[in-house]
């Protein structure tokens, strides 16, 4: 008799749904009050039972909701996605409760109990994060040891870059070409001159003083700019029919892929100058840039080669049959298709490149993460590692997420599928 009463029918719609909802609501209410108001409303129960009460109640509620023929679209969707079986209902509840439990301490640390005002470690009295640390060091985190009075040069170099890129998006196709050539071949030299100075009335700033987020950008931008064409050439070289070019490409790629970046950087900074003739000097930053570029180019080459191999042979034959030579065939037909195919792989490599930049600390250069490493060891600011690395993580995440979104956008834009 009881069992038959527990089976829902179309007539009993109004029993199961409200009952189930009450159970679920009560379960969540219990967790929420427990977390945010420190009130245990199931406190009258034995301790263990009280602990698992919300799970138990929610589980029963979800069960009642699941067996109901409510005919409500929203509930059907909910049942299908998060409440399709007993096990799924249990997992759903567990995950939601863990999220609710985790949000509270996280919010406390990040915002509610954090300190924003002040100018020294002593101003941080709360239990939360000490964002004063980031505020006080912000300038250094952005510009490294670049002299304060000269920082307008870094700003103007980046503003110029962003302005040029921004304008390039809006100008008509015909002029766009010249903009891109200017950006690729002229701007880097203007940028470097502006940053390093030494002429045009600008004070010389040695590259050892460059640092912080601006150095992250400089290294990433240069390496991305140059590793891409080198990688494409290596990929083509590895598939060349000329044995000399093929073996040189294979050798180069396998050499650089087989060595850890940290070793490469160390070699570039410490060992390479020993092989140079006396009196010649190449700036450390440039050596590091070349090392990172060649290292990432080897990875890029393999990504691009994947795209080249995915193209059907017919594309090569069609291009050849129209009288195109090797370069025209590759530039006009093969690469546009192959590169489009491997946009996700290219984005992957470039993201990895950006996140590899902190490794330059081994040669004494300090970009964002390196500057945080320096700041947290400052005697006045000991114990601020957590704040620093959370900040660095957030900044890197924003940069990388933006790049990732851009690559997805590009993929969509270039798609010519039906």
């Amino acid at each position: 008799m009881i069992l038959t009463n527990l089976k829902p029918t179309k007539e009993k719609i109004n029993t199961f749904l409200p009952l189930g909802s009450i159970f679920v609501i009560f379960a969540f209410l219990d967790v929420l009050t427990n977390t945010f108001l420190n009130q245990n409303i199931t406190g009258f129960l034995p301790q263990t039972l009280s602990y698992i009460a919300p799970l138990l109640l929610g589980y029963i509620g979800f069960y009642l909701i699941r067996i109901e023929f409510s005919g409500i679209k929203f509930l059907d969707k909910l049942n299908k996605n998060i409440n399709s079986s007993n096990f799924n209902a249990f997992l759903t509840l567990l995950i939601l409760f863990i999220i609710i439990k985790a949000i509270s301490p996280l919010m406390n640390w990040l915002i509610l109990e954090a300190n924003f005002a002040g100018s020294s470690k002593d101003d941080c009295t709360g239990n939360g994060a000490c964002w004063v640390f980031i505020k006080v060091w912000f300038n250094r985190l952005m510009y490294g040891l670049y002299p304060d009075v000269e920082q307008w040069r870094v700003n103007s170099a980046f503003i110029l870059l962003f302005a040029l890129v921004g304008i390039a998006f809006f100008v008509p196709q015909k002029i766009k070409k010249y903009f891109i050539i200017f950006l690729l071949f002229v701007y880097p030299f203007i940028g470097i001159k502006l940053l390093s100075g030494g002429s045009f009335g600008l004070v010389y700033v040695e590259t050892a003083a460059w640092g912080g987020l601006s150095l992250t950008f400089i290294i990433s931008a240069f390496a991305i700019l140059f590793c891409f064409p080198i990688g494409v050439l290596l990929a083509l070289g590895r598939r060349s029919s000329l044995p000399a070019i093929r073996y040189i490409s294979i050798g180069f790629i396998e050499l650089w892929r087989g060595v850890p970046l940290i070793t490469v950087l160390f070699m570039a900074a410490v060992m390479f100058p020993m092989f140079l003739p006396d009196g010649t000097f190449i700036d450390k930053l440039i050596r590091v840039l070349i090392a990172i570029t060649l290292f990432e180019a080897a990875y890029m080459a393999e990504v691009v080669r994947g795209g080249l191999q995915a193209l059907p042979k017919g594309q090569y034959e069609a291009a050849k049959s129209l009288g195109m030579g090797y370069w025209r065939m590759n530039v006009l037909i093969i690469l546009p298709q192959a590169l489009k195919l491997v946009i996700p792989g290219i984005a992957n490599t470039l993201l990895a490149l950006v996140k590899d930049t902190p490794l330059i600390f081994v040669v004494g250069l300090m970009e964002l993460a390196g500057m945080i490493g320096l700041a947290k060891t400052n005697p006045k600011w000991l114990g601020m590692a957590m704040e620093g690395y959370v900040f660095a993580g957030l900044v890197f995440w924003i940069i990388c997420y933006a790049m990732s979104r851009y690559s997805q956008n590009l993929e969509k834009k270039l798609s010519t599928e039906r």
């Binding site: 594309q315 050849k320 010519t416």
Partner: protein
């Protein structure tokens, strides 16, 4: 009459396997030749040798007075004069139909863009897909794609057209629209070498038929004679099976 294509004692191997055996072939300007034969007989390889998508190891191939040899410049020159249509169309999927047609004229023949577009539209009209010019290959049916591929080859204003089983990858109802275009092209006086199993098409346009088997030319005859009175037993057997 001078010959536009001459093959003398051409031999070709894939590793140890000989695919072409002592091929002799002469084609005069404006002649239409249909090559047929069982699969694996080397007919595709033969026409791919004519624009050197395949290399031959022995013998001479002379196209329009230029010998095909290692010289890259000669090869590119000949390819620009010899149009080719493939079984799988091989349109460039990242370019619109119009760009497919103008790319080679602009970059290989150095035509100004405007002129190349005029030529392209003329040829697209000829194959009756001028209304699809701005679409991408993926948006067209198989028959339309193959006609676009023919138009693309025609835009280079070739002296010779090679067709490598142009209708084999098409649905039956689309074969006719492609064959119609090829018949029209033949009537316009193009020199054509066609590898196909479409015997109706062969009877209508071919001057000569060539039957190949196991890398050899077994029979070469005027079309009428080839179908009505084939000489070799192998040809008779083949024709009895496909007609």
């Amino acid at each position: 009459m001078s010959k536009i294509i001459e093959l003398k004692k051409v031999n070709k191997w894939f590793d140890k396997f000989q695919v072409l055996k002592d091929i002799d072939l002469e084609v005069a300007p404006q002649e239409k030749i249909v090559i047929c034969g069982p699969s694996g007989s080397g007919k595709s390889t033969l026409i791919r040798c004519i624009n050197r998508l395949e290399e031959h190891q022995e013998g001479n191939i002379i196209v329009d007075g230029t010998e095909l040899a290692e010289n890259t410049k000669n090869i590119e020159k000949i390819r620009a004069e010899v149009g080719m249509v493939f079984q799988q169309f091989n349109l460039f999927p990242h370019l619109s139909i119009l760009d497919n047609c103008t790319l080679a004229p602009i970059w290989v023949k150095k035509l100004p863009k405007k002129e190349a577009e005029e030529v392209a539209m003329k040829n697209l009209t000829r194959v009756q897909i001028d209304d699809q010019a701005l679409k991408f290959p993926g948006q067209l049916s198989g028959g339309q794609q193959q006609r676009a591929a023919i138009a693309r080859a025609l835009c280079m204003e070739p002296k010779i057209m090679l067709f490598d089983e142009p209708t084999s990858a098409l649905d039956p109802e689309m074969i006719k629209e492609v064959l119609d275009v090829m018949v029209d092209l033949a009537k316009g006086g193009m020199t054509m070498i066609v590898v196909t199993h479409e015997m109706g098409f062969a009877k209508e346009v071919a001057d000569y038929m060539i039957f190949m088997d196991e890398g050899k030319i077994v029979e070469r005859a005027k079309t009428k004679e080839f179908f009505e009175n084939p000489k070799s037993e192998r040809t008779k057997l083949f024709l009895s099976q496909i007609l």
